[in-house]
Symmetry: C2
Subunit: 326 residues, 2 copies
DNA sequence: TTGTAGGCGTTATCAA
DNA sequence: TTGATAACGCCTACAA
């Protein structure tokens, strides 16, 4: 029997008799045949490789996202090539080149905070390598994407704070050129506006996403003596920093000041008080984006439109925002 | 100029003139030549692929380990193919087959807790695929490995507890057929023995590694009314479970009972009291094992002996074991 | 429905 | 020191 017949039988090609097909499959199993992916890859010019560019592998959200992607890509025969940018633009640019040189089948990107231009992504687009964004997107580019509805999340938590009786609510923000932080900001604004609460410029603190930054901010805030009713931080880490300083200073959360974060980092559950935050379903999002890419890669007709999936973060209400214990 | 000359020039083959070599390099750069890894892989019969089998990607320790491995393998041109076992033996066996079928260059394994036999690893050894163990090893197999010195870690923390005046110290243990938990157990035993402290069988609780198990254990313990002086858990998660129950029951840590965990999970720092534990340097360990594998793959002469690196966990003393605050 | 033949890009071997 | 050739194993256009 010729190699081509076998190849076709194994690939379940339609123009092959059922009998032959079954015979081949059985014989292949018996003689423990394993197709050589390397040869197949060369022939097809594709490596069954998916590139992933993320800020950091070992953050809670991203490690869960990777787990989700692997869960989809591995059984489908694709490998992941994972690159970390550490939020650095140069590194992102370089990772992209590496992936292109490796002839990856597709690229999933979560943009570094240092990135402000889309030029480097053109290289992938020029090579006709499908480019998908995950969580952190370049909104100017019309590509497949899986994101969080950060606006809804921020809106929900701010509204919750307001309903709890907090009125002067400050916001610890991230760089506004990143969709994620922009939307957390606008969601906050929207909720405040709807409640007729004023947001003066000094109520929004820029570039305050880390524990250190949160601590510095809280120290200054306490020194000023002019406390808000509550603080909604775009990051659990800066919320952590704030809480630690407030506790040190003897300011009670939530009775003196409410506090909420974003991302449901594991530690938020165990702080005292536990911190209200938003769960982001990283694993599901990872699965979703991987499925989206594989669909695009394996669908017969070229897809002419882009898909966009948005996950709604889940508000997790904890002690730090429940003003009046029952 | 012939393809072979160019190939040799690019590979810096010794039998090629310096002039030609330079010319080729320059020309390649000018015309933006990118070698096709796929073809090279086929020819060499190797895919520059490293398989990784771990219990779970998204655990703190393992996600850091992966980050460390990527940091080494990526620049060296290797990709990682990551498989999760979820501690299940079947899944481990299957992952191993998948990796072998993918013609990986080498395999790094952290054994699932469900695994009790080494038979399935023979397949990799038969195929002459280098097999390395990471953290969780099969001690019967003589392979390259990178591990924690769990004995030293457990010994150190137990000794610390004893020095703090805790004498009746219980141990929450994991499955003894896994080196990691066996050594945490024996390290504990050794420290107790050296201090002439008795360890009766009921002082060692088997299969108590999760938050749930820790809670169940603590409930029973409290009901019994017979509290030890301290508890050393082989897992931060069961230590967490214990702490939550003790707090609920109004038992003070550390003044009523001391508590220590293992692995320095991020939440241990923020619990109240913060928990004494051991840091495992996952990222460094990941780098180390990746380097070890690449060395083996790329060294000219076949290595005839196996390497073993042991990292010493760092004792991190926190509130949960400081009996007398100053 | 099946077989034949050629080529994907690289590299090892042999010959020049 | 360089060039020609073959082969890695699979896939597909074309022929039968």
């Amino acid at each position: 029997m010729s190699a081509s017949t076998i190849s076709r039988a194994l690939a379940k090609h339609p123009r092959i008799s059922v009998k032959t097909c079954e015979l081949v499959q059985k014989t292949a199993a018996v003689m423990n045949y394993r197709p050589n992916h390397l040869a197949s890859n060369l022939r097809r010019g594709k490596g069954k490789l998916i590139g992933v560019i993320i800020p950091r592998i070992n953050r809670h959200f991203f490690s869960h996202a990777i787990a989700g992607m692997e869960a989809i890509t591995n059984p489908a025969g694709y490998n992941l090539m994972i690159c970390q940018t550490n939020e650095d633009f140069e590194s992102e640019q370089q990772s992209l080149q590496t992936l292109i040189n490796n002839r990856v089948d597709g690229i999933i990107v979560s943009v570094a905070s240092g990135t402000r231009t889309t030029k480097h992504f053109k290289a992938a687009i020029d090579e006709e390598i499908p480019l998908l964004f995950f969580d952190r997107v370049m909104e100017e580019l019309d590509t497949d994407r899986v994101v969080n509805d950060n606006f809804a999340g921020a809106y929900a938590v701010t509204k919750h704070l307001i309903e709890q009786g907090f009125h002067k609510i400050m916001h610890l923000a991230g760089p506004r050129h990143i969709n994620v932080y922009k939307h957390r900001y606008t969601g906050y604004l929207k909720a405040m506006e709807e409640a007729d609460l004023e947001v003066s410029p000094e109520m929004v603190i820029d570039d305050c996403l880390t524990r250190d930054k949160g601590e510095q901010f809280a120290e200054k805030l306490c020194d000023s003596g002019n406390l808000p009713d509550a603080i909604f931080s775009a990051s659990d880490y800066s919320a952590l920093g704030v809480l630690l300083v407030l506790k040190k200073r003897g300011i009670n959360v939530p009775s003196d000041i409410g506090l909420a974060g974003f991302a449901n980092e594991p530690f938020t559950e165990f702080l005292e008080p536990s911190i209200t935050t938003l769960e982001q379903f990283g694993e599901d999002m990872g699965q979703s984006v991987a499925r989206m890419l594989i669909d695009r890669l394996e669908s017969k007709e070229e897809k002419k439109f882009t898909s966009s999936v948005s996950f709604k973060p889940q508000l997790i209400i904890r002690e730090s925002t429940i003003k009046n214990k029952i």
